[in-house]
Symmetry: C2
Subunit: 355 residues, 2 copies
């Protein structure tokens, strides 16, 4: 321990021969300081290697240069990409980023957000487990931005993809390629995003006049093992689907190996979430790229706006971030072209549909 004690503001003030208050003013870029004084204080700070104490600062000031981020699971590839962008933006803006996973436990989620407020975070960005997960929480004036899923909180803003439209687009794409027995794999319908994606799917099917077989609707797929089971069951059906919509990145990453496992890679696949291997698979995977980077960027910028904000614009409607369909092959497969299965003809037969 050769290190001297950390310098504190008093030391800076002493060295610059000013009061501690003036030193504090310089620290906070208060304009009411004489230029010469400012320079003196700055020089002293530099010479002493002074760094302000965030705890003291936040205790007294009642706010802290940190932002809390609550996501479902930081280990998810989609989430990691989202968080990476959020973190980059916010730390560039001088905020310390606190990241915690909720693991979709609403109580945990509430507790985390409450703790962030307790820590005087300047704001929070939340990927909510349900619309109402934060309802009723006392957060004072701390701005809340929801990301990827619409959330409900007074004065909050949500940054999302147009899940309904994208699911409809995806489903329509498969319908356009002749499919009518289309299965949908999704997460729990408790999640707003998931619900909207189901609605878009249903709408496209209804518009095409295709019935939706309840057996082809598989929600509550929480991870790859659920997907594997669901896919196995789908292809054990008397009339299996000819196409599949996977409604999030995690499920898309599960669907590909699952189709391989049951040797049904001729099944059309439309996957939400782009991923690095999508182009290299056989067939290459058609995706809806609802860019996590863009979502993260917009969410961070929205929060920064509120933090700088005059508080004037109290716009609360969701911000919709654009996404696109990238056709690579799997989504353009016709109904069961290579099926060594007698039922294939049935499907092909009806593929024209009655629009």
């Amino acid at each position: 321990m050769t290190s001297a004690k950390e310098p504190i503001l008093r030391d800076v003030a002493a060295m610059a021969s000013v009061s501690i208050k003036t030193a504090s003013r310089v620290l906070n870029d208060d304009p009411r300081v004489a230029p010469a004084t400012r320079e003196n204080v700055r020089a002293a700070m530099l010479e002493l290697g002074y760094r302000p104490d965030p705890a003291a600062r936040s205790l007294r000031a009642g706010r802290d240069l940190s932002v809390g981020v609550v996501v479902e699971n930081i280990g998810d590839v989609f989430v990691a990409a989202l968080v990476a962008r959020i973190e980059a933006r916010l730390s560039d803006a001088g905020y310390q980023v606190l990241i915690t996973s909720s693991h979709r436990d609403p109580l945990r989620e509430r507790a985390i957000v409450q703790d962030f407020q307790q820590r005087r975070c300047a704001g929070v960005i939340v990927m909510p487990s349900s619309e109402t997960s934060l309802v009723g929480l006392r957060l004072g004036t701390m701005p809340v931005v929801f990301v990827d899923r619409v959330g409900e909180f007074p004065g909050s803003r949500s940054v999302v993809s147009d899940d309904y439209a994208l699911a409809r687009l995806a489903t329509q794409h498969l319908i356009d390629h002749g499919h009518r027995r289309i299965a949908i794999l999704s997460d729990s319908q408790k999640v707003p995003t998931t619900r909207d994606r189901h609605a878009g799917f249903q709408r496209a099917m209804a518009d095409a006049g295709h019935p939706v077989d309840r057996a082809l609707v598989r929600d509550e797929c929480l991870d790859e093992s659920f997907v594997r089971n669901a896919v196995a069951e789908l292809f054990a059906l008397e009339t299996p689907p000819t196409a599949l919509v996977a409604t999030n990145t995690r499920l898309s990453l599960g669907a590909v190996p699952a189709l391989h496992l049951v040797q049904r890679t001729e099944t059309a696949l439309l996957a939400f979430g782009d991923f690095p291997m999508a182009e290299s698979l056989t067939p290459a995977v058609t995706v809806i790229d609802h860019s996590p980077h863009r979502l993260g960027q917009v969410a961070a910028d929205t929060l920064l706006d509120r933090l700088r904000g005059d508080g004037t614009s109290v716009e609360t409607s969701p911000i919709v971030v654009p996404a696109q369909l990238i056709a690579r092959g799997s989504g353009e497969l016709p109904p069961r072209p290579t099926a060594g299965d007698s039922r294939a003809s049935v499907t092909v037969d009806t593929a024209g549909g009655h629009t």
Copy 2:
């Protein structure tokens, strides 16, 4: 604003008719409190919905229930998995986790760690950009654990894979399958892990008596675009490699599309880092699975040990977390079986090697 003011410890003390100090003792599980008093105070806390103020606490106590984590880039899939496990363990243990990306900027890395200390973090876990990145920093008694890469700091501990042995194993595996023109793709050799992987590669080649063609050693591959270039150049060589070692997850994810792009999927590939699609590709990808989950788990546990620690065990040798080779096909391809290239015979010719 219907919400009453947040209760503070004074309110709790008043309600329980004790001094603020006694309330504080209950909060900190100090045993020197009469059981009846303790119950009274606890009841008051519950009734008021009291939550302690972390800023005040840490300012006075000089420590905080938070742990700082510095990684290269939270958006990297390997890193995300690593961080997910660290976060899960530490938040279960009651710590708030602060995550920041260094983007491999040593100055930034030092500044972040210094800031964590400033914030009175109980400890830090660092994925260092180089061994010496923290050398000379004044961190007081804050424990430091390095993860994935060996780092240098007084009293610190590193949790790593045996990069040397794994790279040797990977290379040997390819040699065993008849290869001698083996290319290696890697990150910058400034990163300790990368250096060790190169050393293992060189050793395996030397042991087999195979010369290492300098043109087949491609370091400084920072992301997928570098990999794409490197692979293109490798296969533009007069005598291209018959096998490839990709030395980290990011590069592995880049190598597959790159091989597809140059239509060289018959090239043997041994990839560091398992990934979801590895089994579904053609050929399926043989990987070294140096589990990020296990690394994260051990790193978190190591830090928790130090935090609870009597400070007695000042073991500083690196902890090596086991990893395994998962053979799936790409690593077992013979030298250019399907090559429509006259030079293929040359390679096959020498494949027996002189051991």
